[in-house]
């Protein structure tokens, strides 16, 4: 049996009266890459922000049902949200380094938790940049502004910044949508390496990306989970006609 890390049970999400996710049931296994595909406005990014409660920031956002992360019901009022968000680190579609140096971007999260030891931080920064595949390119200019990096480098910096939180989960929201093929390849290689230590949820617009890196793939449509299965099954013999149509590019 697979080790279940996150359980989504009868989960719905609304913006005001408008349902954006309808009655989802989904298990996410530990140390897998779960790919989520689907056309625009299918709810896949919303689903990601529900997992770390970033949706709390959106006015009028409301949920029903449960999400259990390692058995913890994250929508219980006593849950400490900041700590939850450290456990489920998130990388956004547009790379947004904070307006500070490369070093400070990575040290931001650990410093919030009170880490001030210079050597520990140095070590952590190097380690995270190394894991994100960026160390060699920036090791001589850690003090320069992160905003001066190229788009692909910025996205890997954002990934490194998340790793510095020592999360258990990494949530990626179309992390390569704005990147060139080479940067995309670097990020995908990094994800495959990270899989042995982290549980990864990858939302992607690019079905081929899911086929390349995801262990299992879920197909979302209009706020519903149409189906989820091993990636090769989804791509070779999906059980739902709509999945097949989407993968073959008949709509999207």
């Amino acid at each position: 049996m697979k080790d279940i890390a996150i359980q989504v049970i009868n989960f719905s999400h609304f913006y005001g009266q408008q349902p954006s996710l309808k009655n989802l049931n989904l298990d996410i296994y530990r140390k897998e890459i779960l790919g989520i595909i689907g056309p625009a406005r299918s709810g896949k990014s919303t689903f990601l922000t529900c997992l770390n409660r970033l949706n709390d920031l959106v006015p009028g956002s409301r949920v029903s049902g449960k999400i259990l992360v390692d058995g913890l019901d994250i929508y219980q009022p006593e849950v400490e949200v900041a700590a939850l968000r450290r456990r489920l680190g998130m990388v956004f579609a547009t790379p947004v380094p904070l307006p500070m140096s490369i070093y400070d971007n990575i040290a931001f999260g650990p410093r919030l938790q009170g880490q001030t030891d210079r050597q520990e931080l140095d070590h952590l920064v190097e380690d995270c940049l190394e894991k994100a595949g960026l160390w060699a390119e920036v090791k001589d200019r850690l003090k320069t502004s992160a905003l001066k990096l190229s788009g692909g480098q910025q996205q890997r910096l954002c990934l490194a910044r998340v790793l510095a939180l020592k999360p258990e989960y990494i949530l990626l929201d179309e992390p390569t949508s704005g990147l060139d093929p080479i940067s995309t390849m670097k990020i995908e290689d990094t994800l495959l390496l990270l899989k042995k230590d982290y549980t990864i949820v990858l939302v992607t617009n690019n079905t081929k990306q899911a086929a390349r890196v995801a262990d299992r793939t879920a197909f979302f449509l209009m706020g519903e989970l149409v189906e989820v299965n091993e990636t090769d099954i989804i791509f070779t013999r999906p059980s739902d006609k709509r999945t097949e149509n989407y993968i073959e590019g008949k709509f999207g």
Binding site: L54, A83, F92, V96, Q113
Partner: protein, 287 residues
């Protein structure tokens, strides 16, 4: 069609240039006039005597401006000590913590403060603040402290509305990024939003400072206007602007020129403060 639009553009450019030049010309004329009227007497009696002399007795040809220079700097500093923390705190609350409805209501109300004539501020200060200081803290009530508090309130709308604009200009993605990294709202404001808005915040403080150092009427009414170095926050004080306004009506000859010299000093101080503040803003945001 294309050829017709070209001369039009040139005409508009030319007239706009002339309008822009008008403003600059006025500035140049004022500058030249003040210096032309004030500088000769400064040179005649010695720059040092003007800037560091402690005695202002125009009838005896003693034109020491030090008490007024110190006075202007003190009330401006006092106004900033009161206005900046209050203004920034209000701006942070209205942008980051209050409901959108409350801030949509409160921002115009705060901006209304800027529309109240300064003589009204002075009058209120004289009626309520000055007696309050006299009875509770001692001294004549007409004081550096009274002027600082009135000015501190008067610069609030400037500081608040510019700070609000610059905090709102910080992209939401910075806030989202920081919160996704496990920061609380307050940590996000302190460590990400305020540093990103810094140059705008400094600009707001500079404008507030300019208003404080240039304000005349309200200060005359609550500051006491004694041309002596103030011994404490509770002592009366005269500022450079008050000095000009109080004596202009009856001054003549060298006394009148000495008042223009006061204007020169004020002008230079404002230039220096603006320059320093701009430098600080650029240095910090350039990283």
């Amino acid at each position: 069609m294309m050829s017709k639009s070209k001369p039009d553009d040139r005409l508009i450019k030319l007239s706009l240039l002339m309008v822009a030049l008008t403003a600059i010309t006025v500035l140049a004329v004022i500058t030249i006039f003040i210096f032309e009227q004030g500088l000769p007497i400064m040179l005649k009696y010695g720059l040092k005597n003007f800037l560091f002399g402690q005695d202002w007795y125009p009838s005896e040809k003693s034109f020491g401006l030090l008490p007024m220079i110190v006075g202007s700097l003190l009330v401006t500093l006092g106004a900033l000590l009161i206005g900046v923390p209050l203004g920034l705190a209000s701006a942070i609350f209205l942008t980051e913590f209050s409901s959108r409805r409350l801030s949509r209501f409160l921002k115009p109300v705060i901006e209304l403060l800027a529309g109240i004539p300064s003589v009204v501020y002075g009058f209120l200060g004289l009626m309520f603040l000055v007696p309050f200081i006299r009875e509770n803290l001692g001294g004549p009530g007409l004081s550096v402290l009274a002027a600082s508090i009135i000015l501190g309130i008067m610069i609030l709308p400037t500081i608040i509305s510019i700070s609000i604009d610059s905090i709102r200009a910080v992209p939401d993605s910075y806030r989202e990024g920081s919160i996704a990294l496990g920061a609380t709202k307050w940590q996000t404001v302190r460590m990400v939003v305020l540093p990103a808005a810094r140059s705008g915040l400094v600009a707001g403080i500079i404008l507030g400072m300019g208003r404080a150092i240039g304000e005349t009427m309200a200060v005359i009414m609550v500051a006491g206007n004694a041309a002596d170095l103030p011994a404490s926050w509770l002592a009366p004080v005269r500022t450079l602007t008050s000095n000009i306004a109080l004596e202009m009506a009856y001054a003549s000859g060298e006394h009148r020129q000495a008042l223009f010299a006061t204007g020169v000093v004020l002008f230079v101080i404002i230039m220096i403060l603006n320059f320093l503040a701009n430098l600080a803003a650029r240095k910090q945001s350039g990283r």
